[in-house]
């Protein structure tokens, strides 16, 4: 199986929700994103930017209202059978491992659930044991009959990961995989994801609000703002030399930031049902406020700076000012 057989890609993906009063929330508003086996892509942004909706849409848990999702080149179909087959290949790891495990199921049942759903009956105990030890719970037999409440937070998250690994997927989608874990336990779970990638070629899309996490494990990063990816590229480039004003602001407020002057943006993320016209970041943009963007201001106000996916260039930015500077 060649690597391209398992690339998950989204093109101009849109997810809209109807709100009371006839308004429409554009939670995901035209996203281009690729995740391939053997790479970890971080999807970062503030809460409400649509990153969780994007993840759910990529897994087929939320139906896209526009654009396309393809896996291994074949478009994602929403028939029951097609979705079931797809979900063997792309697995989900949720944020809160305490809620993601049924309190009435033992660890064995929780991990074996995927096998049972897909009717894989040969050597079930062996497969469960292997998945548990791959997730770092060793010796696995010791955990078979434990209930979730008898485990620590870190162990629970490993069980959730084992439950995903048991189907031998090529990609994982992890939504804030360590946000509910204690600080000292986080590193272990992140190391596990990194090891799965390096040793077994697993790909992962890690959704996070924590840029430090992206720095710890990701190869590429996509920064999302109000339903759109505004900057995407290799982690080293995007985080140490951010080009989009929003990325720069996000990085600048971190302790020991590579961006010298902290830029604290005023205000908050606008509502997804009321996305500003032109560049969606313009009302909060520090470059617009400082007048640095004056030469391209007419573009910022009137033109939506669309960006193409990662296939065009490794590092892409949705900013008129950046384009003007790059053109010089």
């Amino acid at each position: 199986m060649s690597l391209n057989d398992s690339v998950l890609s989204a093109r101009d993906l849109r997810v809209e929700f109807g709100l009371p009063g006839g308004r429409v929330a554009r939670a995901v508003d035209g996203v281009d994103l690729d995740v391939a086996p053997g790479e970890i892509v971080a999807l970062a942004g503030e809460s409400g930017c649509g990153k969780t909706t994007l993840a759910r849409a990529l897994l087929g848990l939320e139906r896209a209202t526009g654009g396309a999702i393809a896996f291994g080149g074949a478009p994602l179909r929403y028939s029951t059978r097609a979705l079931k087959a797809y979900r063997r290949r792309v697995q989900l790891v949720l944020q809160d491992p305490s809620g993601a495990l049924n309190p009435r199921h033992t660890v064995y049942d929780a991990v074996a659930e995927g096998l049972r759903i897909h009717g894989i009956t040969d050597d079930e105990p062996g497969r469960v044991a292997e998945a548990l030890s791959r997730a770092g719970l060793r010796p696995p037999e010791q955990f078979f009959l434990a209930y979730p409440h008898e485990l620590s937070g870190g162990q629970r998250q490993r069980v959730v990961i084992a439950g995903a690994l048991v189907l031998q997927p090529s990609l994982l989608v992890a939504d804030e995989p360590v946000a509910s874990l204690d600080a000292s336990v986080r590193g272990e779970i992140l190391s596990l994801l990194l090891r799965l990638k390096e040793e077994q070629g697993l790909g992962a899309l890690v959704i996070t609000h924590d840029l430090g996490l992206a720095w710890s494990i990701a190869d590429r990063i996509a920064i999302m703002y109000l339903g759109r990816i505004v900057e995407q590229g290799p982690v080293e480039q995007v985080l140490t030399a951010p080009r989009h004003p929003y990325t720069r602001a996000l990085v600048s407020v971190l302790p020991d930031s590579p961006v010298p002057e902290p830029v604290v943006l005023a205000g908050e993320l606008p509502d997804a049902s009321d996305i500003p016209g032109g560049c969606r970041f313009r009302p909060r943009c520090q470059e617009v406020a400082s007048g640095a963007a004056a030469p391209v201001l007419h573009q910022c106000e009137g033109e939506d700076p669309e960006i193409l996916g990662p296939e065009s260039k490794p590092h892409v930015v949705a900013c008129h000012l950046d384009r003007a500077r790059m053109a010089v």
Binding site: E46, S47, S152, G153, G154, Q155, D182, A183, S184, V185, R186, G187, E188, I189, L190, S191, L194, H209, D210, L211, G212, L213, W215, S216, I217, V235, E236, L239, T240, A249, L250, V251, V253, L254, P255, D256, S257, P258, P262, V264, L265, A266, E268, L269
Partner: protein, 334 residues
Amino acid sequence: MTLLEFRDLHVTYTGSRGRLPAVRGVDLTVDAGETLGIAGESGCGKSTLAMAVLRLLPKSAEVSGRILLDGEDLLAMGWGRLRAVRWTGASIVFQGAMHSLNAVQRIGRQVAEPLLVHERTTPAKAARRAEELLERVGLPPSRARSYPHELSGGQRQRVMIAMALACDPGLIIADEATTALDVMVQAQVLQLISGLVAEKGVGLVMISHDLSVLSAVCDRAAVMYAGRIVEQGPAREVFANARHPYSAALGAAFPAIGDLAARKRPGGLAGDPPDPSRLPRGCAFAPRCAVAVERCVDESPELLPVPTGGSAADPVRTSACFVAQEGEPVVAQR
């Protein structure tokens, strides 16, 4: 001048699982105009410490030792005096502002309430002052007429800060006050808090699990593990050059961007935080420690000055680690 002082504070909860020591002998001081950060993960006793200051602990908690605020013993204080001290002496900003605000009362009234209770001003004056306070924390005064659900998370956290500021307290305790907030909103709130501390010269105790945030905001930092302070010193130093293996791990959990040593190398600790009902005999951290020596298993180390870089022990850097006290590195070499 010393503003707040803990002397050998012990807090033990008694519950269905027996006696759970939450704080096990903490000595700590905060000076006026100083910001102290307390770092640690859930269950290490940092929130218990904060609650103990205003005697907000449940009845099942057994408290011993002394907590002095401006030289006055808070634990020996009568209820009347304590009521005056809550708000005017010290106030707390908790995490989770949605649950701390009354959902059916307008913001302005809630901010004005402590003024009416503690300062006996007229309602009109209190309302005017509430609007001023909201402006101080960066909210338009018109927000006084809003209900909590009409505000965003960051705005609610600002309201909580405005309430804490209402009676000009000498000490503010922020318990994970920015944890639930997004990076940008967190930056806004931290900027606000730092500005207020600098402007008013109040003491600030900031409690967080994120050592990197503390190092950016605080002068001094204390790291807690299993109810004890395991390291203390200038916040930047504790974060960048830890002298206790636990602080080193905690710092590594939040790597600085651009730090090539941390790239693709998530730092972490094996094992889980200890169960307070079954603490190990020697150093509580020893079972998870990569540099533990034989002594650590049997003896519990005290918080003592440790050498940093040079040979002499630095009086402002203390660590409860035998290895650090010997001047040895606390991070296992890869």
